[in-house]
Symmetry: C2
Subunit: 193 residues, 2 copies
């Protein structure tokens, strides 16, 4: 177990707080307090709030990239890979039921704030979309791969939103089952549109 640098500890806690409480609603004081350093020290590592947001988004991008690569290495067929993606909803069930999807909620918030880093946050969604698209292409859905990728993404976002506003575990599991069934039908060539 390697000791994280102060900078990395800040990014880690900011990441968590931005997710759980929202970016705008999280203050420097809160992050500093959680990390266990003073506000002044905080500014030694990050000069502005946008700087730490950029670092958090960068970290999220890298983490997701690694995750997708790991699935690509582990799962040999495209169907299993897409199922791995969908399974995030089950793996992160309890957090999603409380705070929704970290990617979707940040994109939405930055959009409303008209924040300059909105485009950066959207890149995480982009990463998923492009990866899913490649999987559907590998499945032979050349023409519809983009459409199918967007459909899977929209599905996962919708489930996350509803799970965090009154949904229960069973709801998530039912929807995941439904989506897995849809994937099977797509793979079998049963779905044209």
């Amino acid at each position: 177990m390697i000791q994280l640098s102060t900078r990395d500890r800040i990014i880690k806690e900011a990441d968590r707080l931005f997710y759980e409480r929202g970016f705008d609603n999280t203050s420097f004081s809160e992050i500093a307090e959680t990390v266990g350093i003073s506000r002044g020290n905080f500014y030694h590592h990050f000069r502005t709030k946008d700087e730490i947001l950029a670092a958090v988004i960068g970290e999220r991008l890298a983490a997701r990239r690694h995750l997708l690569e790991a699935w690509e290495a582990r799962d040999t067929d495209a169907v299993s890979r897409i199922r791995s993606f969908i399974h995030i909803l089950v793996t992160n069930q309890s957090k999603i039921m409380r705070y929704g999807c970290p990617v979707g909620t940040l994109c939405i918030e930055l959009g409303k704030l008209d924040h300059p880093l909105q485009g950066e946050a959207n890149k995480v969604m982009e990463l998923f979309r492009a990866w899913l698209r490649r999987q559907f292409e590998a499945l032979g859905c050349a023409k519809d791969a983009e459409d199918f990728a967007m459909h899977v993404l929209a599905f996962s976002q919708g489930v996350a939103v509803l799970a965090s506003t009154g949904g229960d575990k069973e709801f998530i599991q039912r929807e995941v089952k439904r989506m897995n069934q849809w994937i099977e039908e797509v793979a079998a060539g049963a779905i044209k549109f």
Copy 2:
């Protein structure tokens, strides 16, 4: 054209600003400025920020209730009614592509703020869910009506999130078409799960 009272004008503008910029990110000054009154006068009508949020949610609840009643009066069959619900995505296309769904984004934001009025905001989602459930029951899906209602809600939320983070008009229309097709299959009894 009846002249709105100052109170109603405040609610109307606050509703719009909460949707477009978010609740927390909208200040009293901004609302007062938009309405064209002073901050002091604002406090004559609403004493706290939570008071105006409660009024906005109450107004939204009433408006949606009327909308659902109007559809129930206009559309005689359940399939048409559910399609009317789905069609909101097309009707409000341009705003959804910018700010997402007013209902979903407020619920998510209040959740992260751990706001006391979170439950009130969720009631709007609840209203949709119960209405959709009744439509599916009328369709003869007694056992699965709740599941199907949640599925339609999740679908609409997912499309709204993705449309506001890189989606285009065509994406919304493709998904609406896909969902309408699914409704037809449910009505025909082709879908069990």
